[in-house]
Structure formats: C-alpha cells, structure tokens
C-alpha cells in the first residue's frame, strides 16, 4: 500500500477522495434535511448528457458537464417554482431527457468508449491533474458560499415558510443551494460515477443524522463519514482491485447501517423519558 502512495495517480486519488468526501458530505446535510435526494439523483444522471457532449466535441467532459448540470438544476428549479409542475415530476422529466440526449450522442459516435464507462461508474485512479484542479476550485467555491450563507441556508432548511416571512429571499437562496448541489455532483462524477454520486451525497449525511441532534455536529460528522468512506473505499479498491466508486459507496452504506442500528431507538426512548419527566414536573 505504501509503495502505491508514491505514484502520482494514487496521490491524485487520495486528494480527490478528500475533496469529494468533504464537499458531498457538506451539501448532503442540506439534501438529506430538505428531502432533495431525488433532485440530486436527477442532476447527476443529467450529467451523462454533458459527458457525452464533451466526448463528442473532444473537450474535457468536466466543462460540458458543469454547464449541463447547472442548466438542469436551474431548469428543475424554474419549472417547479411555477407550482404547476411538482418538483419530483420536473426532476423525472429532466432526468430522463438529458440521459436520452447523452445516449443519442453516443449512438452517433462509432465504437465503444471505455472512458465513458469510467464516467458512468467512476474511476478515482483515472482522475487527471486538470480534473483535480477544477474540483479543488469548485470545492473551495462551494464551501465559501455555504460559509457565507450558513444561517440563511439553515433557516431555509429548517423552516422555509418562516424564512420567507422574516424577509429572506428564499427563492434566490433555493436556487443557490441547488446550484451548489449541481457543482458538487460535477466535482464527484469522475471519481464515483454518475450512477453512484447521489449515494455519496446522501449516505454520509444520513449516517450523521442518526447520531446527533445538532446541525453543526451533523455537518462535522457527515464530513468525517464522507472523507472516511472515500479513503477506506480507495484503499480497499486498490488492494482488492475493485471498482473504486462502488467500493466507496458500499463502505459509506455499511457505515450508515452501523449508525442506524445504534441510534434511533435510543433517540425515541430518550425523548419519551424527557417528555414524561416534564409532565411529571408540571403536574407537581
């Protein structure tokens, strides 16, 4: 294992694992608490169209994917904001049509493309220096925006109605949040793949949710689980020669089940005891 670290591709993989583990876990907290996981899945599948377009035009797919994912995210937000179309319906429409567009482009290109396969299921060992730089810049951007709008995003997530009443521009904030989710997906698809990226966003945050009742703690735990799963998945996949994206996601899922088993009963039981104690005090 230690010799492996000397290779450039492995160093890039470790860096990439750290970056995506962090950014997915942060946005995952919002995605989980706002029940946006279907939007996440929709945007990630839409990126397939972007990837195919990149291959067709012969440019690094990460750039075409950024544009594709952002347009899809904004499209979903725009259509569902009009309230005539439900959000999950909007996602369903964009999800399928952008994938269909990708498949169409691929059918125009002759021959099988192995690289395309690596975008579908991810290959963290194939991350290029350019991919890494773009990921790093976008990650810093995402984290900075989350830092600036921290309490606004929290309010939006906790109680959107009241956030609007107090004067926050909830529509713009919502659009901004969806944009960040789209960027997170772009950052991650090369490493974990279009099909699996949504899991990497949702799972660490869902694990963290099982263990804490504080928002900041949930975010910290989520990042720990995200980065931990990415590192463990990377190591396991290198040693056992497994598909990296799938290994990472399965490690994260295992982590979730462990958290799940050790959490909810305790949570409910403690709540019941608290309420009973309170009622006892009041009756005295």
């Amino acid at each position: 294992m230690l010799e492996l670290v000397q290779y450039t591709f492995m160093q890039r993989a470790i860096l990439s694992a750290t970056i995506i583990g962090t950014v997915c876990a942060i946005m995952g907290v919002y995605v989980v608490l706002r029940s946006m996981s279907f939007i996440g899945a929709g945007i990630s599948h839409a990126s397939f169209g972007g990837v195919a377009l990149g291959f067709m035009l012969g440019i690094n797919p990460i750039f075409t994917t950024i544009i594709f994912c952002l347009l899809t995210a904004w499209g979903i937000a725009f259509v569902s904001e009009k309230q005539k179309v439900r959000e999950d319906t909007a996602v369903g429409i964009f999800f399928a049509s952008t994938m269909a567009f990708g498949v169409l482009l691929i059918s125009l290109m002759h021959g099988y493309n192995a690289d395309l396969f690596s975008y579908l299921f991810g290959n963290i060992l194939a991350v290029s220096a350019m991919d890494l730089w773009v990921s790093l810049v976008l990650t810093i951007l995402v984290i900075a925006v989350v830092g600036i709008f921290f309490k606004e995003f929290l309010f939006l997530t906790f109680d959107i109605e009241m956030a609007e009443v107090t004067g926050l521009p909830v529509r713009k904030l919502n659009l901004l949040m969806i944009t960040l989710v789209a960027l997170t997906i772009v950052i991650s698809i090369k490493s974990v793949g279009i099909v699996l990226v949504a899991a990497l966003i949702v799972t660490p945050a869902a694990s963290a949710y099982q263990l804490t009742e504080d928002f900041r703690a949930m975010m910290r735990l989520s990042v720990a689980f995200g980065v931990g799963s990415c590192w463990a998945g990377l190591v396991l996949s290198s040693i056992l020669n497994l598909a990296s994206g799938a290994t990472i996601v399965l490690v994260a899922t295992l982590c979730f089940f462990i958290c799940f088993i050790f959490s909810p009963k305790r949570r409910k039981l403690r709540h019941r005891i608290d309420v009973l104690q309170h009622e006892l005090q009041e009756s005295k």
């Binding site: 929290l154 009742e213 504080d214």
Partner: protein
C-alpha cells in the same frame, strides 16, 4: 382615548382571492398600538389569509392593507418589527437543531447575510427564551419538548426580533385544553408586561372573551368587531359559524360548543 394611539395595521375594503374563491370580502378595521386582538372564525373563514395579507404573502384583489403605514411588500427593514408564529405543523421537530439556535434563526434577516450572531444577539435570544420561560431548555434539541414548550419556543423565535407586532396563528391548535389555558394566561401576562401589539387567531372563544382587548369575528367578511363583552353574543356566533352554538359555564371560564359544521343544523 385609544384612538390617539399609533395605527399599526390598517385594512380598508380588503378583498383577497385564492384561485377562484374569495377568501376575504370587504374587510375594514384598524389595529392600534398595544392592542390585543383576537380573531375568531370557523375553518376557511379567511383568518390565516388575513394574517398572510398583513405579511405580504398574499396580494389584495382590491382594497388596501398597510402595516406601520406602508404596504407589507414595501416594509423593507421594518419587516423585522413583525413577529409571526404560524400553525406549526410544517416544521419537522426531528430537525437537528437546539432551541437557542432555532430562536436565533428569527434574527437572521436582521443580522444580514454573511454575519455571525454576536453577544447582543445571543442576549436577545436568551431574553426571548426567558420571556417564554424556556431559558432552561436552550441547549435542548427542539423535538425533545412537549407541545406547549415547542409552541413557546416558536414564539420566542418571533420575540427574538424584539417585534412591535406579534401575529399568532392558532398557537394552541395542537395543545390540550389545560395546556391551552395556561398558554393564554401566560400570553395575557406577556402582553401586559411588554409594549407589544398582539393579533391572535384562534378557535378558542373562551380565551378571546377573557384576555383580548378587541375581538374580531371573521367569516370571509368581518361580521363584527369590538370589546369582547359587547360583541360576543349568541347572534354574532350564529352569524359567524352559521349554526347554533352555545356558551356553557364551567367554573369561571365560558366555553362555546359548536354542535356541527356549518350547513347542518342538528341540535344535540
């Protein structure tokens, strides 16, 4: 005498429509500083719509509504003078947030984007929690509270803004009778201690008749408004609920019974 006080809410021939149906028809009233209004009415009578119109969340079809002298959408920074507590079933109480952090959210807009709360903000939060007698629970997760406590936390969130006008939309809807009575007593005390204008939307005729200074009976149009002892007669309630209702006395507190929904007139 009371007329000399500052106008807080002014509603003139207000009509509001939801989709095709009129939710409010020709509603006219004036709410002045420090008054405690109780708005009564059956389901679908436009009570919540009236509050939403005050907040600028729904636009009038015709007529006008002003808060602090301006239309709600033009309030700008003065929006922070209004506290609002909605019917709280939209919140997920399993949300991982502590009581004090939930209350601090009430001040987000006042704080401004990118700014972190400072000492005076936390003082305002703790003060609000003390007012609702929930300061001991500041570190508790918001779901680990009883129904009455949760409601008081949401009121504290509105109070953390140090508002001049507080709108409460059926704050006792999820509470049992005993807890509701305690809550109204507390609300009444808070109103007499603080300089605040209160608007309470409720089904609870008993609470309204005991504590508020002005009662408004709403059934799309404003049936009547005035001092509780003057307006709360059998006729008003019949007119408003569209069915025979009655008071009965249980100790000192008058209760009202509405036998069945509007339309059917079966006597029990």
């Amino acid at each position: 005498m009371e007329n000399s006080k500052k106008t807080i809410v002014d509603c003139r021939q207000l009509y509001v429509a939801y989709q095709d149906a009129l939710a409010l028809e020709n509603v006219t009233f004036t709410i002045r500083a420090d008054e405690f209004w109780g708005i009564l009415g059956p389901n679908g009578s436009g009570k919540t719509t009236l509050l939403r119109a005050m907040l600028g969340l729904v636009q009038p079809l015709s007529g006008s509504i002003t808060i602090f002298g301006v239309a709600p959408q033009n309030l700008g920074a003065r929006r922070t003078k209004i506290g609002y507590v909605s019917q709280y079933n939209t919140i997920d109480f399993n949300f991982p947030i502590k009581v004090k952090d939930a209350v601090m959210l009430g001040r987000s807009y006042k704080l401004g984007i990118g700014k972190r709360p400072k000492k005076p903000d936390w003082q305002a939060v703790m003060q609000a929690l003390e007012l609702v007698e929930m300061a001991d629970f500041a570190e508790r997760q918001i779901g680990r509270l009883s129904g009455g406590q949760r409601q008081r936390v949401l009121i504290a969130r509105a109070l953390a803004l140090e508002p001049e006008l507080l709108l409460l939309d059926e704050p006792t809807a999820a509470l049992d009778v005993a807890t509701s009575e305690g809550f109204f007593t507390w609300l009444h005390q808070m109103h007499s201690q603080m300089k605040i204008t209160l608007i309470l939307v409720t089904h609870d005729v008993a609470a309204v008749s005991q504590y508020v200074s002005v009662v408004a009976c709403l059934n799309r149009r404003l049936v009547t408004h005035g001092r509780p002892q003057e307006v709360l007669g059998q006729e008003t309630l019949e007119d408003m609920y569209g069915c025979e209702s009655m008071f009965f006395r249980h100790g000192e507190v008058p209760h009202m019974v509405v036998p069945s929904p509007a339309g059917s007139r079966n006597k029990k």
